[in-house]
């Protein structure tokens, strides 16, 4: 297990550098001068331009900028905003808890609804409830999140007035966005739960469990459900990782100043260092979550042995 862990970590290193280098190049390709952007229509004074260039290395060749930046990143310093000179780490300290609260609530909803729904669908396979749920989840999948957000905001938020329609620092203002965020992924997860449960149902070890005289409920709980949960738990973990990076659309609609909100604002303000910082953070988060998921997989499923 430990050797597998080490091997996976070593595999991550090239992926990390390839991705961050790609991001770095593309962000530098964004047309327009990031220093000029800080001065709007006014001309940039020569001495200030020199100061900016010295501080952010904008005049160095691209590869050198990349290595200087990576040096900082490896000491957990993501740089600072060109616009406000605020350290990006500070920005994370503020924005990350908000995105994490939203993500946590959405994933909790997703798990609580999708797992029982998937089980119910599998148990009523091809009957009315199953068919109805398949159609409903499919439609839920096809609705774009922003439409869902807008509709929820107008109906539940404005017309019924049950929940706040934008962020006011209270936990309550996270509820509506979390529900909106959870709808699509709940549909995916419920369908996955149904499929894996049906696939597990055909496995030999279930027949063995029944043959040795276990009750139907014990066969289901201990043998079928546990095995079918493995891919579902994986999906939940990956979703959580993705949501930590902020839900761009949902945070925008409900005005939650989380990570997704910050990156859209940085793009509007041409704040290249923030765009880079957040992207690099997102890549790291993704790689770490995937590593954890792989280890979880190896631990949950004794048939998977990698070394």
């Amino acid at each position: 297990m430990f050797r597998y862990f080490i091997r996976r970590v070593i595999q991550l290193i090239p992926v990390f550098f390839i991705t961050t280098a790609l991001i770095f190049i593309v962000i530098r390709l964004i047309p327009g001068d990031p220093i000029q952007a800080q001065f709007g229509e006014r001309r940039v004074p020569e001495n200030l331009r020199a100061a900016y260039e010295a501080r952010y290395h904008f005049n160095e060749p691209l590869w050198k900028q990349y290595f200087l930046y990576m040096g900082d990143v490896l000491t957990f310093d993501l740089g600072e905003s060109v616009a406000s000179q605020r350290p990006i780490n500070d920005l994370f300290r503020e924005a990350l808890p908000r995105s994490a609260t939203l993500a946590g609530m959405a994933i909790a909803l997703q798990a609580v609804i999708a797992i029982p729904l998937g089980i119910a669908m599998a148990r009523t396979k091809d009957r009315f409830f199953d068919n109805m749920s398949l159609v409903v989840t499919l439609v839920a999948l096809a609705i774009p999140v922003f439409v869902l957000g807008l509709v929820a905001q107008t109906t539940i938020g404005l017309q019924l007035g049950w929940l706040p329609i934008s962020y006011d620092q209270s936990l309550k203002s996270f509820v509506l966005p979390a529900v909106v965020l959870a709808v699509t992924s709940t549909a995916v997860t419920a369908r996955l739960m149904r499929t894996t449960l049906l696939e597990v149902g055909r496995e030999d070890y279930l027949r063995t469990a029944r043959a040795k005289g276990l009750s139907e409920s014990r066969t289901f709980r201990v043998h079928a459900l546990r095995n079918a949960l493995i891919p579902v738990v994986t999906v939940l973990a990956i979703d959580l990782g993705a949501l930590l990076g902020g839900a761009i659309v949902t945070e925008q609609i409900f005005n939650i100043p989380g990570i997704g909100f910050q990156i859209t604002r940085a793009i509007q303000n041409r704040d290249n260092t923030i765009i880079t910082g957040i992207s690099v953070f997102l890549v790291m988060a993704y790689l770490i979550v995937n590593l954890v998921v792989d280890m979880l997989y190896a631990w949950l499923d004794p048939r998977i042995r990698y070394d």
Binding site: P14, V15, F16, I18, T19, L22, I23, V26, I27, L29, I30, P31, L138, V139, L141, A142, I143, P144, V145, F146, V147, L150, V151, T154, L158, Q159, A242, G245, I248, V249, Q252, I263, T264, I267, I275, I278, S279, L282, V283, Y286, L287
Partner: protein
């Protein structure tokens, strides 16, 4: 039933018949798939929807009349005094928008740009994916490592963030054009196709007829295009169909965020963006484009699922 990637299921080669009556009736992989598909009602539903939306995109004059004329170049019958009328059976079926333009005509014309972006973005995705996935799967080794690790890298960045960054990089001072959005969406989707196509190529290249072709002296190019491609493309085709549906939705999301299509284009995403702060009083501005968007997206996703079941031997 035969395995989907079994060489004997290639077109033209007779399959070992399961019953005596089948002898002499050559059955092909694609023929089998058709036999399964035509019995499914969901296949016919999604096909009908796709035909409706495709004709709407190519020949909007079939659905909207009168067509654009010199008096009314946009074809939207705009009359500023008619702003935000509700839907009615007599004149404006879907009501009018803020400028007093007929909403039914707009929603219909919107099909063209949505489907064009979806089609070309998917073509870019699938083209790049098949090219790179084929090379990676066929040659393996160092080339495979480079391609696969780069694909992994693309997965590491959330799709929307990637699209926003690529779009900002593509946008020049002349503003954004439709092809910018197409390229941005297309250039981010290929890693999934690489993974999928690479894994099918790995399976197919082991098969005897590929070995035979190689023994006969066929070039790598010929083996990849004539022998491997036709037998490995089915899962990618399924993915491409589902991806068409997904792209329709992604394009609308980007347009809603204000970083998608140019603001003067007639597209469901742009319509929804304009409707977003008028939902409370003029709900029809939201419901009609949303309905079309969901129907179009769902049609392709459903079609993809039906194709998957028809192509995948495990469902037969």
């Amino acid at each position: 039933m035969t395995d989907a990637f079994d060489p004997s299921s290639r077109p033209g080669i007779a399959l070992a018949a399961s019953s005596a009556e089948d002898v002499g009736d050559p059955r092909t992989f694609w023929g089998d798939a058709w036999r399964i598909l035509r019995r499914k009602w969901l296949f016919w539903v999604s096909l009908t929807l796709i035909v409706i939306f495709v004709t709407m995109a190519v020949f909007p004059q079939l659905y909207v009349w009168p067509s654009p004329s010199p008096d009314d170049p946009s074809g939207l019958h705009c009359k500023l005094t008619d702003t935000r009328l509700g839907p009615s059976f007599s004149e404006h079926w879907y009501g009018t928008d803020v400028q007093g333009c007929d909403y039914y005509a707009q929603v219909t014309y919107g099909a063209r740009v949505s489907l064009t972006v979806a089609l070309f973005a998917t073509l870019i995705t699938v083209g790049l994916g098949i090219l790179l996935g084929g090379l990676a799967g066929y040659y393996g080794g160092f080339l495979d490592s480079i391609i696969s690790r780069t694909a992994d890298g693309f997965f590491a960045l959330p799709y929307l963030v990637g699209a926003i960054i690529v779009l900002s990089a593509l946008t020049t001072s002349d503003g954004r054009q439709t092809w910018h959005v197409t390229v941005a969406i297309g250039s981010l989707g290929w890693p999934a196709v690489v993974r999928l196509y690479r894994s099918t190529v790995l399976q197919v290249k082991q098969l005897e007829y590929v070995q035979a072709a190689r023994a006969l002296g066929a070039s790598d190019f010929r083996i990849l295009t004539r022998h491997i491609l036709p037998n490995a493309v089915a899962p990618t085709l399924v993915y491409a169909t589902i991806s068409m549906g997904a792209v329709i939705s992604v394009e609308a999301t980007l347009s809603y965020l204000g970083i998608g299509l140019p603001i003067d284009s007639i597209s469901w995403g742009i319509m929804l963006q304009e409707a977003s702060n008028k939902i409370e009083r003029s709900g029809h501005l939201l419901w009609f484009p949303t309905g079309y968007l969901i129907a179009a997206s769902l049609a392709f996703v459903l079609m993809g699922e039906q194709l998957r079941e028809a192509f995948d031997p495990r469902f037969r």
